[in-house]
């Protein structure tokens, strides 16, 4: 199992697309968390969500929330793509047979992929935190504000929550890759759900239908949004709202993580390797 983990980590470390996804996540996070709000700082008092954030949200004591703000939507989407690539590429390149012919078990390789995913999204969340911390420190210096940093426990809770959410989306990506035994379709369907369907449910269906509004409390996206809201992300950010309490949100997100991981593993074990 340790050999499988080393092998899986090596594959992802040497893969250019892994680093590209990380870079895109950091750039988008800084753009929407700091660059655009800072550009609008001087004038706008209203506008698109997120553009009216004040200076306070960009200072060091709010960096945890800023780092987590993109997780329910675009960072989640990037984590899902990473998950699909981790498992789905083995189908695309037909390398499952090459790996399994080495005598390792499907269970061991799948476990190694989940652990690689766990390490990968931890690196992603750490990078987002580091970038947000750096940007907030820069804003404080430029704006001549005192650098008040959040408590370590708050930072650790934020890291934990962020890891849980990105791990859930990444594991959904792995599960979709195993279900469809490919790369393109799982990414397409995953993104449609994450970026389109969830927003349509929240903005159109939920205000009209009470049962949809209620059902949202059990869906992965709204719970991820509620969790980051509880950890300090601004509710003006798309996908972030205090729909349920943080504890419940964390449980639901963890539950989905287990379900996605279980479904993917069960199917991989059960089916022929194509």
């Amino acid at each position: 199992m340790l050999g499988d983990l080393r092998a899986e980590l090596s594959k992802q470390l040497r893969r250019p697309s892994s680093w590209l996804l990380l870079a895109v996540a950091v750039v988008l996070s800084l753009t929407f968390g700091y660059l655009i709000p800072y550009a609008g700082l001087s004038g706008a008092t209203s506008g698109p969500p997120g553009s009216d954030r004040g200076l306070a949200s960009m200072l060091p004591d709010a960096f945890v929330g800023s780092a987590l703000g993109g997780l329910p939507v675009f960072v989640g989407a990037l984590a899902l793509i990473f998950g699909v690539l981790v498992a789905g590429s083995e189908y695309g390149w037909e390398t499952w047979k090459t790996v399994l012919a080495q005598g390792t078990s499907r269970f061991a390789v799948y476990g190694a992929k989940l652990l690689t995913m766990a390490v990968g999204v931890l690196v992603l969340v750490l990078a987002l935190f580091a970038a947000a911390a750096g940007a907030s420190a820069l804003v404080a210096v430029v704006q001549d504000q005192p650098p008040h940093w959040p408590a370590v426990t708050e930072v650790l809770k934020g890291l934990g929550g962020g890891w849980l959410i990105t791990m859930m989306w990444g594991t959904l990506g792995i599960a979709l890759a195993v279900v469809f035994r490919s790369v393109a379709l799982p990414i397409g369907l995953g993104l449609v759900w994450l970026l389109a369907v969830q927003n349509l449910l929240t903005s159109i269906a939920a205000p009209l239908l009470a049962w949809v509004a209620e059902a949202q409390k059990g869906l992965p996206g709204p719970n991820a949004g509620a969790l980051v809201a509880g950890l300090g992300a601004s509710t003006n950010t798309p996908g972030v709202s205090q729909l349920v309490g943080s504890g419940q949100a964390a449980l639901v997100v963890a539950g989905y993580l287990l379900v996605f991981g279980g479904v993917g593993g069960w199917l991989l074990q059960r089916r022929d390797i194509g």
Binding site: D4, A7, K11, W93, K97, T98, V99, L100, G103
Partner: protein, 299 residues
Amino acid sequence: MSNPVETSELTKRYGRSVAVENLNLTVPSGEVYGFLGPNGAGKTTTLRMLLGLTRPTSGSLRVFGKTPSAGYLSQVGALIEGPAFYPYLSGLENLRVLAGHAGVRRTRVDAVLETVDLAERAKDKYRTYSLGMKQRLGLAAALLKDPRLLILDEPTNGLDPVGMADMRTLLRKLAAEGVTVLLSSHLLAEVEQICDRFGVITNGQLVAETTIAELRAGGTLRVRAEPVDRAKAHLVSLVGAAAVHADGAAFDVRVAPGEAGRINTALVTAGVSVHELRWREPDLEQNFLELIGDDDHAG
């Protein structure tokens, strides 16, 4: 000791389509066994079942006496349905990754790269490799675990004539070292040059099993001699009438290849002038088609 490969009534169905049906196959230790059949005959499906990639619908299989489970392929190396690797990694990196999965030391990677003559290009990206180089990397991956059984699916696909000759030499060398080889092919000539024994599979069924020696049996001695009548009488007395077939002024005599000298001496001693005495190899393809009962193509 258990045979490297044993299957019993092995069957794989996809819906109503039968890919492999009631296959009973035994490959003893140290043998180079050919699995011969046309495309779509069920060769690859059988090999995939042996490797645990495809689950049998019914029947059983054992590799070194073990049924499919964890550690079942610990002594098996395989190249199935052509080489498949990570295109963004070099050949060396690909093998290191696989060494991790196989649980073998990284030093083994250098050894197998030397074995397949790929050490010089080992640091190049896999996507830049030619088909022949990819095939050799596939064989290197199959050798990583220093296996006692090699399962190879069409191993010479994509290789140039030199590469094919190298592959044959390597497989014979491995067999001489005690490695059992099970290889599939749709080419009789390939099986003939590499294998000791082979099974023929068509439509998912093992229709024949024989050795190359048996397939080669049936060569004839071409004899042209005068006077014809006296030559025929002496040939019949030497080998029997059933073994002598007249072909115009010549005869095709069914004898062992080593008999030519004795026949020549006897004819000359009897005063018959021998103008032609030539061993004619059997038509392997003809024998093969007769073996598998292909009446449309058998002459």
